[in-house]
């Protein structure tokens, strides 16, 4: 079983992947909730445009998404240059860029899960909270948010899993730099490109499967616990 032990480089790729996926998941959550709310409840001009934009990365080839990110968030891209000069935030060829690419790719899944759970909330409960003196903001915080928590968790898990597996957009946007932007899929890809890299690829594949399964089981357990607590009839 010697061959199962990960090399330091491989450990770096695993740790980096988890870090990138966590940041992608947590960073996109606030915007994801707002967009899901707008899509579920809003009634405004351009709603279908927003819906299309959110789902764009689901339809486009990941390479195209990565290239678009490079064009806009790259050093010379309009947004990238602005963030660099004013806030010192750099995305291109950094792990932050990998997180951004993963967030963009996972965003539609996150929004979709949250939107569905918002749509299933009984709005009459919110009306009841209003008659008890809760302002719309308090109603959201004390009624809507707890009720959509299972949906938020499901969306977060989906987003995390997507981020763990993201390859095309990441490698196009931030390349494949060991220790900086080489996530699990990139590392596996690299192994398959060199002679004798088969065992390394297999090791990382097993790690990928383990992490994906763990995430899935965790979400199941959480969902069941929340479901038991509420048991909405």
């Amino acid at each position: 079983m010697e061959w199962l032990a990960l090399s330091p480089e491989e450990w770096t790729a695993v740790r980096l992947s988890i870090k990138v996926a966590l940041w992608a998941m947590i960073g996109s959550l606030p915007l994801g909730i707002v967009v899901a709310l707008l899509l579920a409840r809003g009634n405004f001009w351009g709603k279908s445009v927003l819906n299309g934009l959110v789902h764009m990365s689901l339809i486009l080839p990941p390479v195209v998404t990565g290239y678009l990110l490079l064009l806009s968030f790259g050093r010379r891209g309009p947004i990238g240059a602005f963030l660099d000069t004013h806030f010192g935030i750099v995305f291109s060829f950094r792990w932050t860029g990998a997180a951004l690419a993963c967030a963009v790719m996972g965003f539609p899944l996150l929004v979709r899960a949250i939107r569905l759970s918002i749509e299933s909330v009984d709005r009459r409960l919110e009306a009841a909270a209003g008659t008890l003196g809760a302002s719309p903001l308090w109603t959201f915080a004390t009624i809507t948010l707890p009720l959509i928590l299972p949906g938020i968790l499901a969306g977060m898990i989906l987003c995390f899993a997507k981020a763990m597996g993201e390859f095309g957009a990441t490698i196009t946007f931030v390349s494949n730099i060991p220790g900086e932007t080489q996530t699990l899929p990139s590392a596996i890809y690299t192994f398959t490109q060199v002679p004798g890299g088969d065992t390394g690829a297999l090791r990382l594949t097993l790690v990928s499967i383990a992490i994906a399964m763990a995430a899935l089981v965790a979400s199941e357990v959480l969902a069941r616990r929340l479901g038991r607590r509420m048991d909405i009839e």
Binding site: L125, A128, G130
Partner: protein, 370 residues
């Protein structure tokens, strides 16, 4: 306490134009389904914004479209008990009860949690979640939750409609206690005359979006022709009486008032307790001479106070019995055969067994305001 409503609102082809004032402790909004009752309470509670009009509770203006006033629902301090309870599924009963209290400024909190829990008999449910409650328990918790927000008015939209008769019987006494003991006026929506007759101090009858009658319950429920068609047979007089005697041997309770004694099937109240009975107009027989050899136990002397001939075969006779009016619905043929006229001494005959469960109930306690 006073509630003043004068609004109009359109929903599709349906037009609601309602104006009434009620000084009562429990005002029933009464009418058939589709008459606009629920829309009207939703407007009072702030769930619907009326197109025009004005609503005030105790002089505090909630809506005045002309003056540009529209108080959002969370600032109205109006409790709302919905037909479907609407308890928050992610909170325990205790947390549900305390929800509104949290948003109430401390200086305006008058409802005491222990008193309310005791009043509604829900102390043993506090740590449960709503999904583990029966329909009746849910509705009691919903009433408590509304009350604990210390509202200035409570709206109840057919709170018993989703329950079976046993559960209804379980909750009605709590609503009576609320009416008598809590210092908050109630607007109660119902399409059941039995509930209205039992609970209301004042009644507003809605029909097709319009107010057709409004006033004290004992007066409005005698206007049989204005009652919803399906409930007309249940209409009649409301009499306030006291328990005079319990005849356990015959399973009969004797009630007394200035009108005389009335015997009803045994009603579990202490001697001296006030009760309110509903005598359905169709159950009353009118006799010009005191009948003898009759199985009916209640023969009450009075004088004809009013005669109103209806459009069909019937006529409604109001009989003044010691200051309270008993209404009798008889045929036009009987009216002419007996030659009844106002001022004539007559006897009202009522069978004891015609008092079905629900027609005899605890009377109003405390001062009358309706």
């Amino acid at each position: 306490m006073s509630l003043s409503v004068d609004i109009s609102h359109s929903q599709g082809a349906f037009r609601l134009e309602a104006a009434f004032e009620s000084p009562g402790r429990l005002t029933a909004l009464f009418g058939p389904s589709g008459s606009g009752k629920t829309s009207l309470v939703n407007i009072i509670g702030g769930l619907i914004k009326p197109e025009s009009g004005r609503i005030a509770v105790d002089g505090r203006v909630l809506v005045d479209r002309k003056a540009g006033i529209f108080l959002p629902r969370h600032k109205r301090r109006i409790g709302y008990v919905f037909q479907d309870a609407r308890l928050f599924p992610h909170l325990t009963v205790s947390q549900n009860l305390r929800y509104g209290r949290w948003f109430t400024p401390p200086s305006e909190r008058y409802a005491d949690i222990d008193a309310v829990v005791g009043l509604l008999g829900i102390g043993h449910l506090m740590e449960r979640r709503p999904n583990l409650l029966s329909g009746g328990e849910k509705q009691r918790v919903a009433i408590g939750r509304a009350l604990l927000a210390s509202p200035r008015l409570i709206l109840m939209d057919e709170p018993l409609a989703a329950l079976d008769d046993a559960r209804k019987a379980e909750i009605l006494p709590y609503i009576e206690r609320l009416r008598d003991e809590a210092k908050v006026p109630i607007v109660y929506v119902s399409h059941s005359i039995a509930e209205v007759a039992r609970l209301a101090t004042d009644v507003v009858i809605l029909s097709d979006g319009k107010v057709v009658a409004a006033g004290p319950a004992s007066e409005v429920l005698q206007k049989l022709d204005l009652l919803p068609a399906g409930e007309r047979g249940e209409g009649g007089a409301l009499l306030e009486m006291t328990v005079a005697e319990q005849d356990a041997g015959h399973a009969i309770t004797v009630l007394r008032s200035a009108a005389g004694d009335i015997r009803v099937p045994v009603f579990g109240g202490a001697v001296g307790q006030r009760v309110r009975i509903r005598i359905r107009a169709r159950d009353v027989i009118v006799a010009t001479k005191k009948p003898e050899g009759l199985s009916a136990l209640n023969i009450v002397a009075g004088t004809v106070a009013s005669v109103r001939e209806g459009e069909g075969a019937h006529a409604d006779i109001g009989i003044d019995c010691g200051g309270q009016t008993v209404l009798a619905r008889i045929t036009g043929l009987s009216l002419r055969t007996l030659g009844l006229r106002v001022g004539q001494p007559v006897y009202a005959v009522i069978k004891t067994v015609s008092f079905e469960p629900g027609t005899v109930a605890a009377g109003l306690k405390g001062e009358h305001s309706g």
